[in-house]
């Protein structure tokens, strides 16, 4: 767990530097504090051994922090942490038993409860308050005008370098990819989920973009916006809530990628990563069941030397 936290560091650093040291540090601090307090408190009440030192609560806190606007109120961060740990994890029996990614449960509860605060982001570097993230700008333009208007298009041109609200662009994507690659190299996660998640999102968004580029943004835009990289490398790969088998992981990743693009383009919310991962989390047990590996010697293909069973 601590290693995963280490892999998140480059992204966190970038996050802090872009959104203002004070505000973002406080948000991260309060999210982590909320998670750790919730975990320790719950275990104290239930007279269980305190498991804060395994790092899983801290990691949930950091992941949650990267999902809320840096300018969010401190009590929101704290509340998110509580919800993530208690409703997302402890009620199911603690580490290893939760069906849904706790950080995403926290984020989703906050998003539904405080839609305005959760979608009010600051501009990176300038720290101006804006409600328009690139994804919501596109959603609104398409909703109002039926296509991506030239003004929005002009705005979007800066997206690669992180010119829009809540958006760090390509730099954050690279930081996340670096952290993800480190995790793969250290064999903490495997390549299956990130590759199939990002790959399927890229392919599906490309198809839409090729069909009508005035209505649907480019696949590269999808890659660098929202929480796609964070989700693909750090949230969907959560051991507990993702399938066990490599085959199952690919199915899971493709499901996440496809749902993300569909929600972004046709759903009610501008961003779909969190919802798609949560939906696929719920499908994990059935994916595991359906992708159970073929046991050794179950069907020797070669030589036709199958013994008959009585």
């Amino acid at each position: 767990m601590w290693e995963v936290i280490g892999a998140l560091c480059p992204c966190c650093l970038l996050w802090i530097l872009s959104f203002g040291v004070q505000a973002s540090c406080l948000t991260i601090l309060f999210c982590v504090l909320g998670c750790v307090l919730a975990e320790a408190g719950w275990e104290l009440i239930r007279k269980q051994p305190i498991t804060v030192r395994d790092g899983s609560a801290v990691m949930t806190g950091i992941l949650l922090a990267l999902n809320v606007p840096p300018n969010a109120a401190w009590w929101m961060a704290l509340l998110g942490g509580f919800v993530a740990i208690i409703i997302g994890k402890q009620v199911f029996g603690g580490l290893g038993c939760n069906p849904f990614n706790p950080a995403l449960v926290g984020r989703t509860v906050l998003l539904i409860s405080f839609p305005v605060q959760m979608t009010t982001w600051v501009m990176p570097r300038t720290h101006e308050i804006t409600s328009a993230t690139p994804l919501s700008a596109v959603k609104m333009a398409v909703g109002l005008h039926g296509n991506i208007t030239p003004e929005v298009q002009a705005q979007l041109s800066g997206v690669f370098y992180g010119g829009l609200g809540g958006q760090l662009g390509v730099l954050s994507a690279l930081a996340l990819i670096a952290g993800g690659c480190w995790l793969i190299y250290r064999k903490i996660i495997t390549w299956h989920i990130p590759a199939s998640f990002i790959g399927s999102a890229f392919v599906l968004s490309s198809i839409f973009w090729l069909v009508d580029s005035s209505k649907y943004p480019s696949p590269l835009f999808h890659m660098v916006t929202g929480g796609l990289m964070l989700g693909a490398f750090f949230m969907a790969t959560d051991w507990v809530t993702s399938p066990l088998t490599p085959k199952g992981m690919v199915v899971f990743g493709i499901g996440c990628g496809v749902l993300t693009v569909l929600i972004r383009l046709f759903g009610g919310y501008p961003e779909g990563v969190a919802f798609s991962i949560l939906l696929m989390n719920s499908a994990t047990p059935i994916i595991d069941r359906l992708t159970m590996p073929r046991k050794f010697g179950a069907m020797p293909k070669k030589f036709g030397l199958v013994t008959k069973k009585g």
């Binding site: 580490l95 290893g96 507990v240 595991d288 050794f296 010697g297 179950a298 030397l305 199958v306 013994t307």
Partner: protein
Amino acid sequence: MQVQQVKERSKAFVNLFRQHKGMNMELKTFKGGLHPPDNKRWSEKKAIEVCPVAEGDELVIHLSQHIGAPAEACVQKGDKVLKGQVIGTPKGFVSVPIHASTSGEVIAVEPRLDTAGNKTMAVVIKADGKDEWDPNLSGADPDKLMPQELKDRILAAGIVGMGGATFPTHVKLSPPEGKKIDYLILNGVECEPYLTADDRLMQEKPEEVVEGILILKRILGVEKAVIGIEANKPTAIETMQKACEGKGIEVCPLQLKYPQGAEKQLIYAVTGREVPSGGLPMDCGCVVQNVGTAAAVNAAVRRGIPLIERIATVSGSAVAEPKNLLIKIGQPISKLVEFCGGVKGELGKIIQGGPMMGMAAVSMDVPVTRGTSGILLFSEGEVIRAPEGPCVRCGNCVRACPAFIMPTEIAFQMRRGKVDEAEKLNVMDCIECGSCTYICPAQIPLLQFFRQAKSAIRANIAKRKKV
């Protein structure tokens, strides 16, 4: 020209990296498994030494050292026995005779403690120090014998699988009518960490192994014989390749991975065939024998020597001087350890066999058996287990499982007492290699659950048959 150079350079670099990582992609192997640190360097350079039996030493020879029915004692207290004399006769087809490992007097025929801590029937011999051979033992030229006569000699010598499974060899060499065997595979893999007994045998007595293989080939009537050896034993591979030249035996170097020495995995690595689930190697046309067994077969047929001694590695962090020893069946572990300079530091655990699949011995006084490929002594600090944590579903066990089952799911069902569910998850295909338990970051004793499940399922099947 330059492009060529760059290509060569990069290829050399990649190979270097692979060697460093212990994975050579060009070598054959199986799917799944893992690579624990092999720790063979402690004993791999040590030549085999004879662990002596002095006058007055007590040898405890158990009558059940093999899979199948225990032998029946045919000597009594007070009898004088000679080295190689039969002291236990086999009962039934799947059973073998037991022989005296040295000459001396039988001082007891009674239940004695075995490795697992159970009291089982044993013949206790007090050595007279003369080590006198039974004069009735005689060799023969294998080329002049019929396969059945060869098999009779193997049975009479009490040969069992020496890799540790101790399954009677004559049974394995008697496939039922209609089963065509086209591969004889020799197991020189020795994938268990620490153990170097087979390695030393292949380096020091390659001709014994080769002659044994030729006898086994004749018995089975097979054309193809392949010796599988892992790539971390380059000297053994080279020696065997030289010894096998022109003999119609192939040496197949294998990628470094545990459990390559498991029968089914070795067959897959060498031939690409899968033993059908629930079946035997002969169901895919293969017979697997350990290289040590081949050498023992040779000694039994040519010289009439029964299985009374074997090579074992004494190693581990708590042994003063790790060695490879030629031991006599029935010698107590303490004798072997004493010969290796005694215990170093605090002794934590004694393992008979390899660290992955071996069995913890209850004390230093239990004797070695025909299946003892090694005695490992670990210091106190090394055997402390971290507390068990919850499963975080990391999937390491699923990826490591060479039988392609889902260890954590089975353990999950077994915790709830659902044996039927565990059976549906193919727990019966578990080969008990322990890879899952080794790799588990939460220290869950997965294998323990599978053993429980398997014995419960077997009991259920037996019950169903009765009704």
